[in-house]
């Protein structure tokens, strides 16, 4: 539940930052994008697939308010990304960090391809989509570190509040 809350909060915050600070974080058609990493991070923590799909769809619907591409593009692409990562995680034993980061890039490419196809710009997948996926692989360790810290912090607060209310 905390991870889901974290997903929605961080997803919203990341999209607000990306939209308002694009001048500083965008080069060409590439941008420092935290959302694919966030989806993969959440996929590794959410074992309940129906809950995960609902949360990811909700995130997609929230984020579609920040874009002019068709509304269905975000929920569909994010859900596909979530299920891909879930499938990978379920079929691999002891994923190492570098593998997780690599799969993040793969999922990122998947998301970009679906969104570009939905917006009618599929011709941009090469080279921009691939370059974006590479950036997502490179920045994944940083984003995973931040997400883990925030999750730990939130869990700490929730545990503290629960202890206080019980006590």
């Amino acid at each position: 539940m905390t991870a889901t809350l974290c997903l929605l909060m961080l997803g919203y915050a990341a999209s607000v930052i990306e939209c308002s600070a694009s001048v500083f974080i965008q080069v060409g058609l590439m941008r420092l994008d935290a959302i694919p990493a966030l989806i993969c991070w959440y996929s590794l923590r959410q074992n309940n697939i129906p809950t995960g799909i609902v949360a990811i769809t909700l995130l997609g619907l929230i984020l579609s308010a920040f874009s002019t591409i068709p509304v269905y593009a975000f929920p569909v692409s994010y859900t596909v990304g979530f299920l891909t990562m879930r499938y990978i995680a379920a079929n691999m034993i002891a994923l190492s960090n570098w593998q997780i980061y690599l799969f993040t890039g793969f999922v990122s490419l998947e998301i970009i391809v679906l969104q570009m196809a939905a917006s009618g710009n599929l011709e941009l997948v090469w080279p921009w989509g691939f370059l974006q996926a590479l950036i997502d692989v490179a920045t994944a360790p940083f984003f995973y570190w931040i997400f883990n810290r925030i999750l730990t912090f939130m869990e700490h607060i929730i545990t503290k509040e629960a202890t206080e209310s019980n006590g």
């Binding site: 999209s15 990306e18 939209c19 308002s20 694009s22 965008q26 060409g28 058609l29 590439m30 941008r31 994008d33 984020l63 920040f66 874009s67 002019t68 591409i69 969104q115 570009m116 917006s119 009618g120 710009n121 941009l124 921009w128 974006q132």
Partner: protein, 292 residues
């Protein structure tokens, strides 16, 4: 016991009187010699020697005083330094703010100049964000339906047309820039009135499409709106032709690259044309009549 105490009072008086007389004589002689300038070189030499001595003697003391002062000053300098650092930071911020205000003022003056030349009512808006999909050249402005903005209204910047409104909220609107891959504007070449469609090509600018191979278009030609799309008034500046390719035999039309006059990547303020005349014409048209 000292011997002076054994001297009689008469002797003491004589000694004091002698000293006074001696001092008086010396005084008179000195005054006379000074008046005559006889003692002057000796006095000067004496003063010079004294000054040298003073100088030599004062050096260690002044060093000691300097060390002491430095120590005393250092205590206050540290505090002062902190205060000054804060002041410098604040002043830097102020200067940056003034500089920003000057630049903004310059931009707004340019926009005002354009606004004066426009026949229709327009509204100044600030760009506050962009699209979440990084390949979309769509920006968000801080004015919406409550300010009278409606979809399909033209948006201008200092260079000319920059896009059109595609979506409106109560207090925000989304503007599709002319370099967006989905943007299409009816355009003409100002020099020879050749008609085409200005299509967005992402960050590389725009292209003028559907211009046949025989039509004379050269780099440097100005592209303006034709008004045929019933969205943009005729004659607004769009961009300048930067290259023309006619070599590709398989294509029916020329490949014309256009650089927009407005710098779509750095623009911060825009003008939204609230009534373009075209919309008024639509309103005045009798119900059921055909749209031209």
């Amino acid at each position: 016991m000292p011997q002076n105490q054994h001297k009689s009072p008469g002797k003491k008086i004589i000694i004091v009187a002698c000293l006074i007389i001696f001092a008086g004589v010396i005084g008179i002689v000195t005054v006379r010699w000074r008046a005559a300038g006889i003692m002057q070189p000796a006095v000067t030499m004496f003063k010079d020697a004294s000054c040298k001595l003073e100088q030599v003697m004062s050096a260690p003391f002044s060093r000691l005083a300097a060390v002491w002062d430095s120590y005393v000053d250092l205590r206050s300098v540290r505090e002062e330094n902190k205060i000054l650092k804060v002041q410098v930071a604040r002043l830097r911020e102020e200067i940056a703010g003034y500089r920003e205000a000057v630049i903004e003022n310059r931009r707004l003056r340019q926009l005002l100049k354009i606004k004066k030349h426009l026949p229709d009512k327009s509204l100044l808006a600030h760009i506050v964000g962009c699209d979440l999909a990084q390949w979309k050249a769509v920006v968000t402005i801080d004015m919406g339906r409550k300010d009278g903005i409606m979809p399909d209204m033209p948006v201008l910047s200092t260079g000319g047309v920059i896009g059109r409104v595609i979506e409106t909220g109560m207090s925000f609107s989304r503007v599709m820039l002319i370099n967006d891959y989905q943007s299409r504007i009816a355009a003409i070449v100002q020099r020879n009135r050749a008609r085409g469609i200005l299509a967005g090509q992402g960050r590389s600018g725009c292209s003028l499409e559907y211009i046949e191979k025989g039509v004379d278009v050269e780099p440097g030609d100005i592209i303006i709106t034709s008004g045929m799309d019933a969205m943009f008034p005729k004659g607004l500046l769009l961009g300048k032709v930067i290259s023309v390719k006619t070599t590709n035999q398989s294509k029916l039309f020329q490949e014309i690259r256009v650089k927009p006059f407005s710098d779509v990547n750095t623009v911060e303020e825009v003008l939204v044309l609230l009534s373009t005349g075209l919309q008024d014409a639509d309103k005045n048209r009798p119900a059921g009549s055909m749209k031209k």
